[in-house]
């Protein structure tokens, strides 16, 4: 926490080392988060890349109220959501639709977690986002609700439905 505050202060003062340190410290975490949300490593890399470039250009606009890790996770989640919306608006081709469930893409987290990743990708995005932000990033429902601009009851509903559906999907995958 203290290190993050010092890093942020140095970053706002224009320190290149501080920015590089922030990037190196949270790169893997944010990439994993984006990949889990998007289900695609390449897109996740782009999202993380674009976010950090934007972050580097907005040193004077950043107002950090909580911790840096949560702030970065929220920003990446917002960008991932935008990416999902943009993808939904684009027409999808047949070949692209067939490739969307390729095993190599699904196994990006390793063999052990491939089933979980496959099941996560079948969840509606809103439910998936709540589950990942809650479990992986450790965010509270209140924080997630604030980030998504919805009520806390909505977030809790998404969490509950998402968890039930994920359990069902995992059982179904294991039976196969």
């Amino acid at each position: 926490m203290v290190e993050d505050k010092i890093l942020m202060w140095r970053f706002k003062c224009g320190s290149r080392d501080a920015l590089a340190r922030i990037y190196e410290k949270y790169e893997a975490y944010l990439l994993t988060l984006a990949a889990a949300l998007l289900g695609d490593v390449n897109t996740a890399e782009d999202v993380v890349h674009d976010f950090f470039v934007s972050f580097a250009q907005s040193a004077d606009k950043v107002r950090l109220n909580g911790n840096l890790k949560g702030y970065l996770a929220t920003c990446v989640a917002n960008r991932a959501r935008d990416q999902i919306r943009a993808r939904q608006q684009q027409p999808i081709g047949l070949e692209q639709a067939q490739n969307s469930k390729k095993p190599d893409v699904c196994a990006m987290f390793g063999e052990e977690l491939s089933l979980l990743n496959l099941s996560l990708r079948q969840l509606p995005y809103e439910q998936r986002e709540v589950l990942i932000l809650h479990f992986y990033s450790g965010m509270k429902f209140k924080t997630i609700a604030s980030a998504q601009d919805v009520s806390i009851n909505t977030v809790q509903s998404r969490y509950r439905y998402g968890l039930d559906k994920l359990r069902t999907l995992l059982k179904r995958e294991l039976k196969k």
Binding site: V41, A44, H49, L131, L166
Partner: protein
């Protein structure tokens, strides 16, 4: 561990190691973006760190405590200063007090420094400089805070002829740094009369009779 049993732990185990190409490309781009940004816009001023510091809860709490402390201490100190502005000493009279025909007397007291009760800020200890019993002058040789000019101060003790002070009697001397008159101490004594003990009240009553009004040191029959 079956994933459906403990979904939370499974999700926490998700991890992707960034590729070297991605790492270097992003790092290069963000440093370049930061350099362009700092060239086009001025860096954030140093004063912003105070905004950061003052926004923390601990700092806010300390600031509130400091303000409350100032507002609590200043009036109390002001009240005590007013109350202690009466300047008087107490001590034992070793030889009694010389009586004169007037109802006002001068006194020289051998003040024991440990017995001195300091209620004013001005005088700490007085000492006897006169050898004879007819000269009643004492000198202030230690002045606290330097508010009194370092000069000789005559001590005037009003007593009643019927009740002369005896050796060893408790005597309270009111000191006036102004013109050797008790007149200036009257208001001070009256202002703090609530805290006076019986002997102080006795002298205060003498003063209130007005016998001192036309009195100036030295008394006409002292020499």
């Amino acid at each position: 561990m079956r994933p459906e049993k403990n979904i939370g732990k499974s999700i926490k185990k998700l991890h992707i190691t960034p590729s070297v190409q991605m790492h270097q490309r992003t790092l290069r781009d963000i440093l370049k973006a930061q350099q362009e940004f700092t060239e086009t816009k001025s860096a954030v001023s140093q004063s912003n760190i105070w905004r950061i510091i003052m926004k923390t809860k601990v700092t806010k709490l300390l600031a509130v405590a400091a303000i409350v402390g100032i507002f609590a201490i200043v009036p109390v100190r002001f009240c005590f200063t007013r109350q202690d502005s009466g300047k008087f000493l107490s001590g034992k009279a070793p030889e009694g007090l010389l009586q004169s025909k007037e109802d006002m007397h001068c006194a020289v007291l051998a003040i024991n420094p440990k017995a001195v009760i300091i209620r004013g800020r001005l005088i700490e200890i007085i000492k006897e400089i006169a050898g004879g019993v007819n000269k009643w002058e004492v000198e202030v040789f230690k002045i606290l805070h330097g508010e009194v000019p370092n000069r000789r101060i005559k001590v005037i003790v009003p007593i009643e002829p019927e009740k002369p002070y005896q050796a060893g009697a408790e005597v309270i001397i009111f000191l006036s740094p102004y013109k050797n008159r008790l007149y200036h101490t009257k208001s001070i004594i009256s202002g703090s009369s609530k805290t006076l003990d019986s002997s102080e009240k006795y002298i205060l009553n003498v003063i209130k009779k007005g016998a001192y009004r036309s009195y100036k040191y030295p008394p006409p029959n002292a020499h």
